[in-house]
Subunit: 315 residues, 2 copies
């Protein structure tokens, strides 16, 4: 089938593209990155179509939607910490642009929209693990906008009959995460190590997250391709809680470099505990085995070192 | 104290103004209606300050916020049925304008923001009665935007320490509801009767609503004046469910005119059942007695007839 991946050169998007190409589908990527510098898709040259455009360019977006069966929407405005400072970015770039895209997808006859939401923020400050039935109560503009966008997508499903799959993803990490980004603690720590800088560890043993390797995210999100007529909301995490201090231990044990860091109290923009019960989704993947944390961290580290060597301008 | 009422010439707003003036506070109204035609505030001439402006006029809005202790925000973009057709109106006019106001209120040093949300839409299609703990799941753009705005208000509370009271109101009715509006079934039916036209009744005995007389809404919302330091989310309804067909019976019995109507199936934009358990709020009003439905409908009818006579151009 014809699969459009918005933000397909990005971190999550490019891994999803890899897996969907492997499955034999026709993939179109819509991304703001110029095709010639779309490094995360270099290895797929000639095998996918890349359309270059800004998400705000409604005309380019509409063209990319023509003839597509399903669209994965990986274009995100910002991240929890930045959104904490300016909620308007989330309103305009997450909510409004996404709703415009849903509208265009309906008009283009797309059968299903897949929306990656945030398991780490939509449930807010409650005791985890969270199921999909846990009441939502986001408190950061990032989480508020993600939930609002989910609800608008379900509105389009109700009114126009377009199918809508929502994945509330844990804390993804892995190769290809943007360098210089401030999202993804594992990525941020590793960059600091490579730069020989000290990094900051916010929180204590009560700060629990559900870290999930990016290829696991991609693999599990291909579930949406199985049936273009169904609409579901799924949690997408490993179900295993790892405290920030345990993560630090694994980090120190796995890296072939000595990290320098300082432990500070939790920030108000951070959740305390966030672990996802994903049994609803995993029921479609019997016997599924997640990439173990140590293995994932090692692969992420090797990738980041390789990119630092290949593109010295990267930092 | 100094009380600003945004949309203070409107239906809910003007009744709140009445009550707050009675309680002896200094009231400023910000409304798009020119003071000389602000009919719902005519009787308060000289006792309140009226600032004329559009909600989108950030400068006029900022000026009105200066020196205020508390602001009641009654400016709404639209209503559930209209929002069903165009979600962008809700994003821009409800979410974005409200967040801009919260931002301005913080900057102006306002101590509390009071936001009238919608008990009829934020809980969505679930079995009522709803408590404030019932998981929210709005399905109309109107309800989605109301909930999102609630959450952004709580974000400003968390980050800036401004107090925030949210009232999730049932189906308010009563004198002064806008003529020619399509919001408020009681109002719509009465206008049709006055015009000698047939009206449409959507739904059956399963369509249950929590109709609340507008002075009850105003009285109960004055709770926010008691303590400018507290922040709460309250349901605001009578707790009594009335089916659309029972409402029709009361209507026929109470009006001194013969209504013509047709009963049609429920619309997809409508909720099925929506009754609010408001015991959290009523705990602050021991022995509170609501205006009974018959009495409220009679008063609403007399008011509408009087307005039709006084302003023949009204329709």
């Amino acid at each position: 089938m014809n699969v459009l991946v918005l933000g397909g050169n990005g971190f999550l998007g490019s891994h999803l593209v890899d897996r969907v190409v492997e499955l034999g589908h026709e993939v179109t990527v819509f991304d703001r990155v110029q095709p010639r510098v779309a490094r995360n898709l270099e290895h797929l040259k000639g095998r996918i179509r890349i359309i270059n455009g800004e998400f705000e360019n409604r005309r380019a977006l509409r063209e990319s939607l023509e003839g597509q069966d399903i669209v994965y929407h990986f274009i995100g405005a910002t991240y929890p910490l930045a959104s904490w400072k300016d909620p308007f970015i989330e309103i305009d770039l997450t909510i409004k642009n996404s709703v415009a895209m849903f509208n265009n997808a309906v008009e283009a006859g797309v059968k299903k929209v897949v929306y990656p939401s945030s398991g780490g923020t939509v449930y807010g400050r409650q005791r985890s693990p969270f199921t999909e039935e846990t009441p939502t109560q986001p408190f950061s503009p990032y989480g508020i906008a993600k939930l609002c966008t989910e609800q608008f997508l379900n509105y389009y499903r109700d009114v126009n009959g377009i199918a809508a799959d929502i994945y509330r993803i844990g804390n993804p990490y892995g190769p290809r995460q943007a360098v210089g980004s401030v999202q993804g603690v594992i990525n941020i720590w590793m960059e600091a190590v490579l730069e020989g800088e000290e990094f900051l560890v916010y929180g204590d043993d009560a700060n629990i997250r559900d870290y999930i390797y990016v290829t696991d995210v991609a693999e599990l999100m291909t579930h949406s391709l199985d049936d273009l007529g169904t609409s579901e909301t799924f949690n997408l995490g490993t179900g295993e809680g790892v405290s920030i201090l345990r993560l630090l231990q694994v980090f120190e044990r796995t890296l072939d470099a000595k990290p320098k860091y300082r432990v500070l109290p939790r920030r108000p923009s951070d959740n305390i505990s966030s672990v996802l019960n994903s049994s609803k989704l995993l029921a479609h993947f019997p016997g599924y085995r997640f990439v173990p944390l140590e293995k994932g961290i090692k692969a992420t580290w090797e990738d980041l070192k390789r990119r630092y060597r290949a593109y010295p301008d990267i930092s």
